[in-house]
């Protein structure tokens, strides 16, 4: 018995030792492999910067902190992948965009602004954004490919490896939005225009800031930015997390976002009890669709008995964010208009002299060089 115990124990030990050795070998293998391939990848990157065009080169630092060397002349620019729509709307603020953009995603190509600004849109290669096809992108022989930042792991790397300069833009916060604009300016060779546009957009924000900054913290209204989602068959109330642009908009418009301290970084679901507990002074609704539109939902909330104790409902301060599907709160240049629009709702007295519709028309004319009638048609009817 004792003998067996020892033997078994020894057998067990040998087995364990064998397992440990195998494990160690595997770990070492994985480490070595990742080191080797990691080295290879960074080697490729170094090569790209080494073989850059002779003489004077220009470069940009994108939102991954990558130093991207740009070709001397950029004539063919491609926007691709999911989420390109938001950055494309910024790109068309540049004069040479219609000539230089040779390929873009279906969602961008169909957006009203691109349709209004680009006379050659019918002749452009339009790609499905959902499943990025690297060959399709490379077949366009692009000088630069621009992606939304989260596309890096979803096919962007493949294109990087082909040697074509790839730029990733975030443009989801005020900082990356304006820096993204400057990067686009460099890519389009219109740095002066980029500066001019950024100054203009900042001036719109300043109009709001000048008036709102005097309001003491204690008198600022508490705002609920609500994404009323009906997808998936059930109704869900969602609120933006900490650093999201929707909270930035509320803050810049002079409100205090009740969801500013939510720990989650994306949309989090809250229940009505939580909303009643927050008891916001104002509610701004988005649905990201036209049916039901944000305005419809705002009306519905005003009539809903379950909402009746909420201060915003009692005082009639529930509003739909303009734009429906192409909502103004999204990180397209329109978020700046959203700040102005919201500020006027929060402080009607301070903004009595500001005509949001007129300002929006001027904005679209300035950004996209559009005639007045076209610019007017881009302003959603719910903006007055």
């Amino acid at each position: 018995m004792k003998f067996c115990k020892q033997k078994c124990l020894r057998k067990g030990l040998t087995k364990t030792a064998g397992l440990v050795i195998i494990l160690v070998i595997v770990v070492i293998g994985v480490l070595a492999g990742s080191y080797y391939f990691g080295g290879m990848i960074s080697g490729v990157e170094e090569n790209v910067s080494d073989t850059s065009t002779p003489s004077k080169t220009s470069w940009v630092i994108d939102d991954y902190g990558r130093n991207v060397t740009l070709p001397l002349s950029i004539e063919r620019i491609v926007f691709a992948g999911k989420g390109a729509r938001t950055i494309v709307q910024s790109a068309y603020a540049f004069r040479s965009a219609p000539e230089k953009i040779v390929g873009l995603d279906t969602s961008s190509a169909g957006s009203p602004i691109v349709q209004a600004v680009d006379p050659y849109i019918e002749n452009k290669t339009v790609m499905e954004p959902l499943n990025l096809n690297a060959e399709e992108v490379l077949a366009l022989n692009p000088d630069v490919v621009i992606f939304k930042s989260y596309m890096r792991s979803k096919g962007g790397k493949q294109i990087e490896e082909s040697g074509v300069p790839v730029i990733y833009l975030d443009m989801e916060t005020p900082e990356t939005f304006f820096s993204g604009f400057m990067i686009l300016g460099k890519v389009f060779g219109e740095e002066d225009r980029a500066r001019e546009l950024v100054d203009y957009m900042k001036s719109v924000l300043d109009v709001v800031d000048d008036r709102v900054s005097k309001v003491p913290e204690s008198e600022r209204p508490r705002v609920l930015f609500l994404y009323y989602s009906t997808k998936g068959g059930t109704i869900a109330f969602k609120v933006p997390g900490q650093h999201w642009i929707q909270n930035v908009i509320v803050e810049k418009a002079g409100g205090i976002s009740v969801s500013a301290n939510m720990s989650s970084s994306g949309w989090s679901v809250v229940n009505l009890e939580q909303i009643i507990r927050w008891n916001p002074d104002y509610v701004f609704v988005v649905t990201y669709r036209s049916d039901p539109s944000p305005t419809d939902i705002a009306q519905q909330i005003l009539k809903d008995p379950d909402w009746s104790t909420v201060k915003a409902v009692k005082e009639g301060h529930v509003y739909g964010v303009p734009g429906g599907f192409d909502s103004w709160d999204m990180p397209t240049p329109k978020w700046i208009l959203c700040v102005l629009w919201m500020a006027k709702h929060l402080y009607p007295d301070l903004f009595r002299d500001v005509d949001v519709k007129e300002k929006a028309i001027e904005y679209f004319m300035t950004l996209y060089g559009l005639p007045r009638e076209t610019a007017e048609s881009l302003v959603p009817p719910e903006v007055q």
Binding site: G233, M262, V270, E273
Partner: protein, 317 residues
């Protein structure tokens, strides 16, 4: 014993109505202020559905474990949940917003998944019947999970993806009274049918030969029990998303308390399931400003119970 459990559940349900994100004073309740009335109208449907969902998931789990003679059988191990999730995800993508269609899609797909598992298990030529079933279930669940993955990659990252993701983890947050009544009654019918069949489940769990010898056609009762179970599970999953662990763990807990006779184990599992679900949803809706996905809570509750039961097993026998 059962009376006592029912009593505990009733008391728990009533007291849980007073808990939630809305801080209400005694005065609010006594005078039935508008705030208290709103709180009730928000909490009652969720409490009712928690009870139904918990009971029917647990009863279904108990029935499936008996039918398949496998203590590991549960809605998710057989692929029902994954199938329903896939159906719902496809539904979200194709008929966004039309609740009835999404729910129907989830329901049919849940049914299809368990049929597929069953079919696969017959093809497996490896191991005993229990192992075959587990392997087939893994394959079918993995296949439907992959399907969900495909749908997710096709979904709009800004709008549809969060819906699918949240849906996969289950929630009672968006339940309307209409859904509570429709899905709730379907689930209840399934659970009651399982309860009625529970005396036959004892015979089924002896194996086909024995059942035939006792004059019971195993195939009919097996199919009836499976259909009743997955009806209940699919109905719950269709409106509330995937809820993990209740269907697996509660039957074990039920058997631990009342023994393995299904006539008693099924109702016991259902009652315990109802109670645990009640508590789980209260945590999901009440603890933080953001709703916590239900499966996160049920897993946190279910896993320790499961481990505890497993470690107790020897001492019982």
């Amino acid at each position: 014993m059962i009376l006592l459990t029912v009593l505990i559940i009733v008391t728990a349900s009533i007291s849980i109505l007073f808990v939630g994100r809305l801080p209400l004073t005694m005065n609010d309740w006594l005078s039935m202020s508008p705030l208290a009335r709103i709180a009730l109208s928000l909490r009652v449907p969720r409490v009712v559905f928690s009870l139904i969902a918990g009971a029917s998931l647990a009863a279904a789990g108990a029935a499936l474990q008996a039918v398949f003679r496998n203590p590991l059988a549960s809605p998710s191990i057989l692929g029902v949940s994954q199938g329903a999730a896939f159906g719902a995800a496809v539904g979200i993508l194709m008929f966004s917003g039309i609740a009835a269609l999404i729910e129907a899609s989830a329901f049919v797909s849940g049914l299809a998944a368990v049929m597929f598992t069953y079919f696969l298990a017959r093809m497996v030529r490896y191991g005993g019947s229990i192992l075959r079933l587990i392997l087939a279930g893994m394959a079918s669940a993995a296949l439907f999970n992959a399907g969900v993955g495909v749908v997710k990659s096709l979904a709009d990252p800004l709008k549809q993806l969060p819906e699918i993701t949240f849906w996969l983890l289950g929630s009672f947050a968006g339940l309307t009274e209409y859904e509570v009544v429709t899905a709730g009654s379907v689930a209840l019918v399934g659970a009651v049918a399982v309860g009625i069949l529970s005396w036959r489940l004892n015979i089924l769990s002896l194996g086909d030969e024995q059942a035939k010898a006792l004059g019971v056609n195993p195939r009919i009762y097996r199919n009836a029990a499976i259909f009743a179970s997955i009806t209940a599970v699919s109905a719950v999953t269709a409106v509330a998303g995937q809820i993990m662990w209740i269907g697996l763990v509660m039957p074990h807990l039920g058997r631990k308390v009342v023994g393995s006779d299904n006539r008693r184990a099924v109702p016991a599992a259902a009652l315990i399931g109802a109670l645990i679900m009640l508590i789980a949803d209260d945590i999901a809706r009440g603890v933080s400003a953001a709703e916590i996905p239900l499966s996160v809570v049920t897993s946190l509750i279910g896993v320790p119970i499961f481990v505890a039961i497993l470690s107790m097993r020897e001492s019982r026998k």
